[in-house]
Point group: C2
């Protein structure tokens, strides 16, 4: 009685104490925690009971020090601006929590810094695995070592030539089919001169969507396509679009933006220039952020939260050795539906 101090503020128990309480040894407790065989059923039950009663959780540090699993998942992002990274992280954390782990996040906007962080994550022995959100493509010039912790890419796929990266996991979206859907929609609506506002240049999705855009244009005779670089943010888009319209005689009749933020910047410029949307010029985004619904922006729905979950799932699959050599087990590609709204809702012309 007297010895039982305020329960909330006691120092947490450790392995030895649990073992003592269960009348067993450290080794047995350790085996039970890790769900390993080699413990008599009654002993196991007794230990599990004690663990539950005392809310015992093995120390991160004792574990980490032995070089085995630490329960820490490293997540590396570049920006928080678009909401993409934020939602993906929430998805990852949902899955990591389920497995009793912790999410270590960091942000590194610059390429050098990004790669340095990845290196230290992957070879530092602090995390079980690392998830890279929309990494700079230059990353693939680095090589992955055989003893490196597993890396999963979210929204990127390593190029074929990057051989050391082939064993990495990757969750991507089906840019090709979404782009086809989007271009087809615009064509149906009677738009004929499409301009694609490309995203940040060193991002996988940017590069892939440019390729898919050009391929899609080729499939539609009579439709022209044009890629505009340099408009990767809302602000830049305002400038680039303004300048383009000011200096070009022939206007595009639809702007197909890399993401919703860019599309919204474009809409602002068109509004300021009193150019009718969707009649004179149509506008599409990509992502389907909450405000796109409000703005009536036609866009492609990107399942960010689901991407996060999927990415973490694949990481755990690799950690548990369940992926084997199957390439398919380490890759996932998600579909993205089209959301047709006001900014392309013109009558066929």
């Amino acid at each position: 009685m007297a010895a039982n101090k305020d329960a909330a503020h006691q120092k947490p128990l450790n392995l030895v104490e649990i073992a003592k309480l269960a009348g067993s040894s450290k080794s047995a407790v350790s085996r039970v925690i890790q769900n390993q065989s080699g413990v008599a059923p009654e002993v196991r039950a007794r230990i599990q009971h004690i663990i539950r009663v005392h809310h015992y959780r093995p120390s991160l540090f004792g574990r980490g020090l032995k070089g085995s699993r630490t329960g820490l998942i490293g997540v590396l992002g570049r920006f928080m601006e678009s909401g993409f990274t934020a939602e993906v992280i929430r998805g990852i954390d949902d899955e990591v929590k389920k497995r009793g782990g912790h999410t270590l996040v960091s942000f590194a906007p610059g390429i050098e810094e990004y790669i340095a962080f990845w290196r230290s994550f992957v070879s530092g022995g602090q995390v079980d695995g690392v998830i890279l959100i929309a990494p700079p493509v230059d990353l693939f010039n680095q090589s992955v070592g055989p003893s490196d912790r597993p890396t999963i890419l979210c929204a990127a796929e390593p190029p074929k030539k990057a051989t050391s990266w082939q064993r990495a996991g990757a969750v991507t979206v089906d840019n090709r089919s979404a782009m086809d859907r989007l271009v087809h929609h615009l064509v149906i609506k009677g738009y004929k001169r499409l301009a694609h506002l490309a995203g940040q240049p060193d991002i996988f999705d940017t590069q892939e969507r440019v390729r898919c855009f050009e391929d899609a244009i080729r499939k539609h005779p009579g439709i022209t396509g044009h890629v505009l670089q340099g408009a990767w943010t809302s602000e830049l888009a305002r400038e680039v679009v303004h300048e383009h319209l000011e200096t070009h005689g022939t206007w595009p009749d639809a702007f197909l933006a890399f993401n919703d933020a860019i599309a919204l910047g474009t809409l602002q410029t068109l509004q300021a220039m009193k150019i009718a949307v969707p009649d004179r010029i149509g506008v599409t985004g990509w992502d389907d952020i909450p405000f796109s619904d409000y703005a009536g922006l036609t866009t492609i729905h990107l399942p960010m939260h689901e991407m996060g979950i999927k990415t973490a799932e694949i990481l755990y699959r690799l950690l548990e050795g369940k992926a084997g050599d199957l390439h398919a087990a380490r890759r996932a590609k998600l579909e993205m539906p089209l959301k047709a709204r006001r900014t392309t809702a013109r009558e066929h012309s």
Copy 2:
């Protein structure tokens, strides 16, 4: 030569190896790392050089195990939806990185879960300190133990009666002056019957803004104020506002929303009901998310990124024992400017 394998994939060095290379002892290296006195200048320089050359970084786990500083900062959020949490986290991480630490983030939407996570953070010995972003106010019914790791509140302030919480750090925003500014602006614009759409009920800012709103109304004779509950998300706002206007004979002539998302939902409803903004009804938000500029929404600018930085700064101040007993050293309150835009831009009526 032959022994020098591919540098990128080597196992990282440890303390002993650094000591050997520097021709010194573990103890000396440890002291240098921690910037402690008791090392001869030349020895210190030699060690620092070796550390730099080999990019040595002390292991998180070795450190953590000794029960001293781990370099890990725990961050607990509830949702990512509004962009608030995301931006705050980025600010925190910026500051944590500066100090060579790592940010451990987790999300717990439910109250029980939130408190359980906080408890395990604060007494588990895994993190040096914890930052709680917009915690549920029920948290203050819990008591903070003297041996608990320091907790810093971001966007919350403990009530006076919660004595054990008085030593906690807190970064808040000046809701009172911002609310005064906002109400004054509306009054100047000729709005007379204000309705405040309150936020999620168990949040400090929600409760404080309701109080400030009511106080502000009292200062303006002839102006009436009314608090509408239940509209904490964009979707809910659409329903609540619609229902309110349908069932009430006397309409408010301005909706003052808890945040921009709520304000945008309100704008959608007004638009759908063909009610003229800002002439018939004015609308204001709070946060100044990027989209509000586009939407022409009058709002209060909340410095989210700065809040994150400030919160981490205070945490480090406590960790370094620099706060002493000064209450002021553990508290910060940030100002929020008014952004007057189209949704209240009516001529004086």
